[in-house]
């Protein structure tokens, strides 16, 4: 059989039923094999969206997302999407075409050194030199992408290799990579030390991150919290790790988190960090405030993260779900009632009740919609003020999912990731929150949404600004903003051109009806909210 057909067979063997992509000259053989197969190919409108869609798909389905593009510009357009997935540790496999293997290095038409270009953003990459290596390479790629700390893997396949004949397709049963042996179980000695530290603590606190969700450890985390009584804060990527109405839930930490959550970290005497690298945005304002005597337990599947940003006393390398299970067996209740009461008393009432005419209160919008959305809805946030209005005001319910680009902060993530999410879970409500800046970065995906008739609600906060940038400029450079998006197009008309219904609201009172329309409508829907340019992220 042709190598391209073998590639498709291997994908099917990896349980792939959907791919996101954009064809071109040097990937045609694979596309021909795809056409003849049962795999669903979703055509995006720009390759970067293929990577974001694969990412959204992976995060909602729990499978490895797959994106396929051609060589040259097709591959280079993927770079931002791959970097976005890398920073948030999302399992995707990117397959790119490449020029004829005998002609590599001669600057052929649409040639690009994509393996070199993505070296810093991939867990691993392959330039296939022999068609008989393909089954092993594909099996390894999926294994690497989905195990340990998940991440993107790129496979670059020259066109002549795609067309070559393979005698017999033999897919290896197992994968054996000497240099890659991720640790799953926690070291028992360290677990005992951790359990002892917990029993001795007076003000313990859990910081949960994206790793809890990647490990599918929500149940184990809940059991752990209920058994020990330890309160919990989370990072942006950890939103959803614990339901928001649980009595141990304190809030989101970070630059745009809640002050009571940041205070909790500063006051704790034991920090149990699970599945987060506590990068600068989460830890930034806190690090100089932490209690000098604080002891830190850091649980992470990636040993390189332990000790990188935060000095750790008890490192615990392994899979979050497995380690939490190991700990639950050994751990006991800690007397935390006073500690939790103290933390809850710090909670500031956020008064978001100014009556404004001519503009909508985005926090009110999110809070209202949060109550109306299904319990298993998926919310995809873009980047900027809209991201934090969404992160701060959407309630986390068990079964709900919140996706955003946390590590790289890529504007334009919202729309294509929502595409991937909806395709992964067609029966779940999918809503994406975007600003007018981020929306314009990827609005070409309205084409994909319309083409596939994806029932996605697009909540667009339009303030004719790059809101987050505006806030930073105000703070550091005075009220002389450099960037205005005053000549925005009429987004309703734009969506109409794509055959997508839309409604614009200017006051809070219009929200209920508009949202009702959006949820009732059987198809994609744009709900545009006109927001005051001076609306702040937090207060």
């Amino acid at each position: 059989m042709k190598a391209a057909e073998a590639i498709v067979e291997c994908l099917i063997n990896e349980n792939v039923d959907t791919v996101f992509g954009y064809p071109g000259g040097h990937i045609l053989e694979v596309y021909e094999a795809l056409r003849k197969s049962k795999i669903r190919h979703v055509l995006v409108r720009q390759e970067q969206a293929a990577a974001h869609s694969a990412s959204g798909y992976a995060r909602v389905s729990g499978k490895v997302g797959v994106c396929i593009t051609t060589s040259g510009p097709g591959a280079t357009n993927l770079i931002t999407g791959i970097a976005t997935a890398y920073m948030d540790s999302i399992p995707i496999v990117a397959i790119t075409g490449q020029v004829n293997s005998t002609k590599i290095g001669r600057d052929m038409f649409q040639e690009a050194d994509i393996t070199g270009a993505t070296e810093s953003f991939t867990k691993h990459s392959y330039l296939v030199k022999n068609e008989n290596d393909l089954p092993r390479i594909i099996k390894e790629a999926f294994y690497i992408a989905s195990t340990g700390r998940p991440g993107p893997v790129l496979i670059d396949i020259p066109s002549d290799i795609q067309a070559a004949e393979i005698e017999k397709l033999v897919i290896p049963e197992t994968v054996s990579i000497r240099g890659y042996k991720p640790t799953i179980k926690g070291h028992v000695g360290q677990i005992k030390r951790a359990v002892k530290a917990i029993s001795e603590s007076k003000r313990p606190l859990i910081i949960a991150g994206g790793g809890v969700l990647l490990s599918h450890a929500e149940d184990e985390l809940l059991n752990f919290v209920e058994k020990t009584g330890i309160p919990l804060v989370h990072t942006l990527m950890g939103k959803g790790a614990l339901p928001g109405n649980n009595r141990h839930y304190i809030g989101m930490i970070g630059n745009h988190g809640f002050s009571e959550a940041n205070r909790a970290v500063a006051m704790a005497d034991l920090l149990i960090i699970i599945g987060t690298r506590v990068a600068d945005r989460a830890w930034g304002g806190i690090s100089d405030q932490t209690n000098e005597d604080v002891r830190i337990i850091h649980i992470d599947v990636d040993p390189a993260e332990i000790g990188k940003n935060v000095d750790t006393h008890i490192p615990l390398v392994g899979d979050a779900r497995t380690i939490l299970t190991q700990m639950i067996e050994r751990v006991d209740k800690v007397d935390t009632d006073e500690w939790i009461n103290e933390l809850k008393s710090l909670k500031k009432e956020i008064k978001s009740n100014r009556e404004k005419t001519g503009s909508v209160n985005p926090k009110y919008v999110i809070e209202t919609i949060s109550k109306k959305l299904d319990d298993d809805a998926v919310v995809v946030a873009d980047v900027g003020q809209n991201q934090f209005w969404a992160a701060r005001h959407f309630e986390d319910k068990p079964g709900r999912r919140f996706l955003t680009s946390g590590g790289l902060g890529t504007m334009g993530y919202g729309l294509p990731a929502a595409v991937g999410a909806k395709i992964a879970a067609p029966d779940r409500q999918v809503l994406t929150v975007v600003g007018d800046g981020g929306f314009q970065m990827s609005l070409h995906e309205l084409g994909t949404i319309s083409h596939n008739d994806l029932n996605i609600i697009i909540l667009l906060f339009n303030n004719s600004r790059l809101g987050m940038v505006r806030e930073l400029q105000d703070r550091f450079y005075g009220k002389n903003n450099a960037v205005y998006l005053d000549k925005n197009p009429d987004f309703i008309k734009l969506c109409d051109a794509y055959g997508i219904k839309g409604v614009r609201i200017r006051t809070d009172s219009e929200l209920e009806d508009a949202f009702e329309m959006a949820t009732r409508h059987n198809g994609p829907f744009l709900l545009e909210c006109v927001v005051d340019p001076n609306e702040s992220t937090i207060l």
């Binding site: 070296e119 810093s120 690497i144 240099g179 179980k185 040993p303 000790g307 990188k308």
Partner: protein, 171 residues
Amino acid sequence: MSRHVLSVLVENQSGVLSRVSGLFSRRGYNIDSLSVGETEDPKVSRMTIVVRGDDYILEQIKKQLNKLIDVIKIVELDPQQSVFRELAMIKVNTTMETRASIIEIVSIFRANIVDVSNETLTVEMTGDESKIEAFISLMNNYGIVEVVRTGLTAIERGSRHIKIQTRNEEE
């Protein structure tokens, strides 16, 4: 900032060198020297990397290197328990008068003369860093035309060796 020598076993695949050096430059770690070659197993290469950094940097270097799929094992070599060697080839200016004394110094260092011409003499020597530095500084008096050095390579003393585990070490 102290100097550390890492012996890194890697898969003998194209691109490995680029990945390792890319990792160092990307994260701002300093490489003093890097030498690489095949081992007793042709599928495995060994890189000897001399890095400079404090304990935090060294730990991060080892951990980040370990994350690379092609890196199989990393061992830090203790100078007291290892043999460190470097190869250098030094082309020195010679005249009728100076040639004899240069040859004397070469024989004291037990080095080899591998090329002679009217104006120059090329010396090949292997040894540890201090021996090579000493020779070079003596040759400076005569005028050095060119120096080519390989950078450090090293091996542990005694019967200890760097093994590749075939099973997960944690089990």
